[in-house]
Symmetry: C2
């Protein structure tokens, strides 16, 4: 068993058994049983030995377990040594910490709400016609800064749907009342009327429902386009990648291990190119989604989609032919259910190659010879459904040594009821009576680099380009001159992009110099500029989203610092994440460092984002800078008609299907 | 003949004949014969009638001709009325204006240089071995602000190549001397020694060549990868688009006319979605590439790739299977040669569809039902080779009403010789003895909108998101609230992005309100932040690049204002472009406006960009905002295995080709 492999079902069972043995006959409600990764120092020794073909001593296998004691609602954290089959450590979590939402509990809450007499009394007041019914949707309660958020709660939003079709888009029919639920006692503690105007004012009570009509996304509710002809990807010799039994992927000089856990979803480890280490570990660390609505209870709406729920927990079952084209591999993931049993997430990760246009080209105008290669990419993808919303998360590798982390935001806007003819400056009307509130998505990508070596230090630097003063004395008599300069970040902290100075962050290994130009082996980080957290710096929302105020953070590596928003984010109060770690003011030059990249969007909804949103794409790119000695994609085979099998479309007349396109296989007559 | 069609060969011939008739037996050197577009007012009347199925009066066909009188090197501009077969207007250009570089002349210059005795004397001093030879490469002279740039010149850079292979990468072997050429007399006027250290100091003379070795990009010089398996795109029913004899393209509710000219390359006109006008005209207006090197003569290096040369002039002949996958249509372009004859640019534009991953997805966690569509795109592409460098320029349309303008920068860095072991802060050593200088690429995209109507006004606006003050008095007691606000730009001028305020520019039609939410019909502009021109504001380089200091410009529409850097950029002095137009301080609210989007990269070369650069991708996106009433892609047919024909790759063992991939055609057994 490789030390970096995910927990197996047998290991999950073993861990659960040992945990239960600690607590006798107490009913336990598990939130997670997951791999507790080996200490980095031991693991690096193992990887180095492994790369050198030496006998490596495997660190022990450990499991980390989070669960409630049902009788007391005490949140426990227990570490199991699976190698020695022993309990390594067990302790209750801080009483202000809450476990993540899980979908078993969400469904229990929703079912209970729909049977609660006080809720049913409100529903009755709606006087719904037979073809309409009510749907409950449980949200995390959020935090209000300690007023009402010490115990775990759900805020349940209510919607109307079609009685005979639960795939009707209920987000187009929000209601104006909201039960609050205590999930420990599993009771409705109160029903809140929701504001539907510009301020906190709200109706006295529920009134008969006025149906302003549906807005469906399901295909049978549409008149579908009929003029889109098939486009498929053919890989007649199969995929160019291999995945072994330990989920080690090899493709085009790349090598890495694919892990999967309930919280981060995909985790890549031991990422190498041409057998040179680049990253020890890469994963999405956290995402916060604060909403702009200042009214109560909406002011509490701030999701932490990884910490509050879990990217692995809500990963879609990806089906062949739905989410990718071509030759696709699927990996299942193993998480645990509420009873601590192994739960298989079918097809949680998909892997495929794709063509991304031209990779490089040059035409020699003297000889007319064009050299061109295509840009083949490898995609490691997972798709999350967090209630209404979807995130398509992918690591993408190319043949030029580049790694992209791509986020596609899609799914359905979180909506609430608004009075007819009312507008508010913190949201957009997307359907009659339906408000979609502005919100930010701020993601935090964790990069644990090992550029060129596992055993030497790395550092964060930034390069800026600035004008030379415009005078002859500075050697710039004509005023065109400008220079680049690179600064190493000495101490842990948060940093920001600066377009005016052309600031580009990079991770460097100062011990490895480029043999041609002497510059340090580096990877630069291209990330889109982030509008930082708009919540006030003295607000609870800002305090919770510890990472959301800088585009880049750098910390010195420390065990157990994986989650920049803190380990427990559900109804969190802040103070347990990256702000604490940078406050140590560690030296981070030529050290074992971790780099955190924050990026996102401020989503001011447009009506075109409803009833389901076209993907909004965000990409963070990591590109080699003086790491290699030339374009790493220089050895990609040329793009030719023999390889590409393209088909010419006739122009100048209305093209009819089939006339020109019958040759789906390769025309062997090359035009080159 | 549709008034917006490009000039036909017959029209080019007719125009040349009329021009020649003006000048008797004088030898003319033509720079361009191109369509002079109809005045907009007439053209709009025509388009509106056409859309309404009414009889439309066609404006006259006009040609615009630029040429030199060879005996005097006087640059002439003449307009021909092709409808009446008459000369409409003829006048010499301002004597400080110069025509564009053309590749006939470049090759004449290069051939002449290689036969010039003074140049040959320098080459002899290199004492090259037989297997090496010298290659000359002519560059525009640039401007020095009036010192030495009043007459037209070429700066010729010299390189070493392999004698028996002119596709050897000579940019890896730059020489340290440079002939300056007068192209009118076609003579070398001087030979400049080039600086090879940190400042203007330069060698006394040419010395025997020290070969520091090749750095080739051609495939036969590489050990090519052998593990990349074929990936092709199959469109068994052909393409989903049609192109008629007037180059009107129809695809997925889109409609537009594809034009092509020597200067801008692709021009799209009358762009509509679902028969609603969106843009009257879209094109790349200009690009400037100023270099950071302050030394002489490099300080003059500042290309205007459209104005100095021409995007259509240097468009690649795109070959089936080389530059795209799938079912591809090619359009030829017609330009003129130096004698004013029609010159066909074969396959100058290619058109194809591509798959860009998921378009939208939602999974209902209650029912487990996933709805997902793919994101089909239509690409209208042209590839330019400007000496060493390539630009892949594409308009991309999707099914959600979005238009992207994508630029892929590739090709070979412009290099110069540098002393061994020397470094400079304004460039990167990419090969022994080879410096690639920092440079900016600043592009200017011209958008002539007609959002929703040709006859009502448009305006530029920007939306910002800002926090509500954190107090109860402002209705934001918890500090999370923020609001969006939109400002209309009242007067022509330049504006900038502002990430901190989340500033998003949009084009609006204030006369058309969204029927659901009452907001103006708009398209927003997503463009990457631009590091503005780094040359000093009082430099000649800055003055020439009139558009390079703001991410957005807005002007009131005026005839003959197409080129934001001025009509004649070769050795230009500034003062004829967008700065002049915005100085009119026109009102631009609810008017006929033009919006100019500036974007680009500051290219600090990395060694991985040599010997040929992996594509650097820049995208400007135009997205509907409250223009439609819902997601325009809601009616895209679902993504299913029946349509997508994907193939499952086995995991957990080394995958061998063919084992799993033989089924290149569709597995009919859907797993859904």
């Amino acid at each position: 068993m490789h030390p970096l492999n995910d927990l197996t079902p047998a290991e999950i069972n073993a861990a659960r058994g040992l945990v239960q043995s600690l607590h006798g006959s107490e009913t336990l409600i598990f939130k997670a049983i997951t791999l507790d990764e080996p200490r980095k120092q031991e693991m690096v020794a193992y990887l180095v030995a492994e790369m050198n073909g030496q006998r490596a001593v495997a660190p022990p296998r450990l499991a980390y377990c989070v669960y409630y004691l049902k009788s007391s609602d005490t949140l426990m954290t227990t570490w199991i040594n699976l190698t020695t089959h022993a309990i390594a450590r067990s302790e209750p979590a801080d009483p202000t910490f809450h476990g993540n939402v899980d979908f078993d509990e969400v469904q229990q809450v929703e079912d209970m709400v729909m049977q609660d007499p006080t809720v049913l009394a409100e529903i009755a007041k709606l006087q719904l016609p037979d073809h309409l019914t009510v749907v409950a949707e449980a949200w995390g309660f959020g935090s209000d800064g300690g007023i009402d958020d010490r115990h775990r709660q759900y805020q349940v939003y209510m919607f109307v749907s079609e009685t005979n079709n639960l795939d009707s888009n209920h987000y187009a029919r929000p209601l104006n009342f909201s039960p609050v639920v205590d999930p420990v006692r599993m009771v409705v503690t109160r029903i809140e009327m929701l504001p539907t105007g510009v301020d906190d004012a709200r109706a006295e009570g529920v009134t008969p429902y006025k149906d302003l009509g549906p807005n469906e996304y399901i295909p049978e509710a549409q008149t579908l386009r009929e003029d889109l002809k098939p486009l498929t990807v053919a890989q007649p010799e199969g995929a160019s990648f291999t995945i072994d039994g330990d989920n080690v992927l090899r493709w085009q000089k790349w090598h890495f291990r694919i892990g999967f856990n309930y919280r981060e979803g995909i985790v890549l480890r031991d990422v190498r190119y041409d057998n040179q280490p680049l990253f020890y570990r890469m994963s999405l660390s956290e995402m916060t989604v604060p909403y702009a609505d200042p009214r109560s209870p909406y002011f509490r709406k701030q999701a932490f989609d990884l910490g509050d729920v879990g990217a692995g927990l809500v990963a879609n079952d990806l089906r062949l032919g739905c989410d990718c084209l071509g030759a696709i591999a699927y990996l299942d993931g193993w998480i645990s259910d509420r009873k601590g049993r192994p739960l298989k997430k079918d097809n949680a990760v998909c892997i495929h190659e794709q063509d991304n246009g031209i990779g490089w080209k040059h035409t020699n105008y003297r000889t007319g010879r064009a050299c061109v290669v295509r840009n083949r990419e490898l995609v490691i993808q997972s798709i999350l459904t967090v209630s209404n919303y979807e995130y398509i998360l992918a690591f993408k590798f190319n043949q030029a040594g580049q790694i992209d982390y791509e986020v596609r935001a899609t799914g359905i806007l979180s909506t609430c009821a608004i009075d007819e003819n009312q507008t508010v400056p913190f949201g957009t009307i997307v359907h009659p009576g339906v408000l979609a509130t502005h919100h930010q998505h701020i993601l935090s990508l964790r990069l644990d680099p090992a550029l060129g070596s596992y055993t030497s230090g790395n550092q964060l630097a930034y390069t800026e380009t600035t004008p030379i003063p415009h005078d002859a004395a500075h050697g710039n008599p004509h005023g065109n001159g400008y220079v680049s300069g690179t600064t190493t970040v000495p101490v842990s902290g948060g940093l920001d992009l600066n377009t005016e100075r052309g600031r580009i962050f990079s991770i460097q290994n100062p011990s490895i110099r480029n043999p041609v130009n002497g510059l340090p082996a580096s990877y630069k980080i291209h990330s889109p500029p982030l509008q930082k957290m708009l919540a006030a710096p003295d607000s609870i929302h800002f305090r919770r989203a510890e990472f959301a105020d800088h585009e880049i953070y750098v910390t010195k590596y420390n065990e157990d610092e994986l989650f920049s928003g803190g380990k427990f984010t559900n109804q969190s109060q802040g103070g347990t994440g990256i702000k604490t770690w940078v406050a140590r003011q560690d030296r981070v030059e030529d050290e074992d460092i971790v780099v955190w990249v924050q990026f996102g969007i401020n989503h001011v909804p447009r009506i075109e984002d409803f009833p389901v949103m076209p993907v909004e794409i965000l990409t963070v790119s990591l590109k080699p800078v003086n790491f290699f000695t030339r374009n790493p994609a220089i050895d990609v085979p040329p793009s030719t008609q023999e390889r590409n099998c393209s088909v010419r479309v006739e122009v100048g007349k209305e093209v009819s299907g089939g006339a020109h396109g019958a040759a789906a296989c390769c025309e062997r007559k090359s035009l080159l």
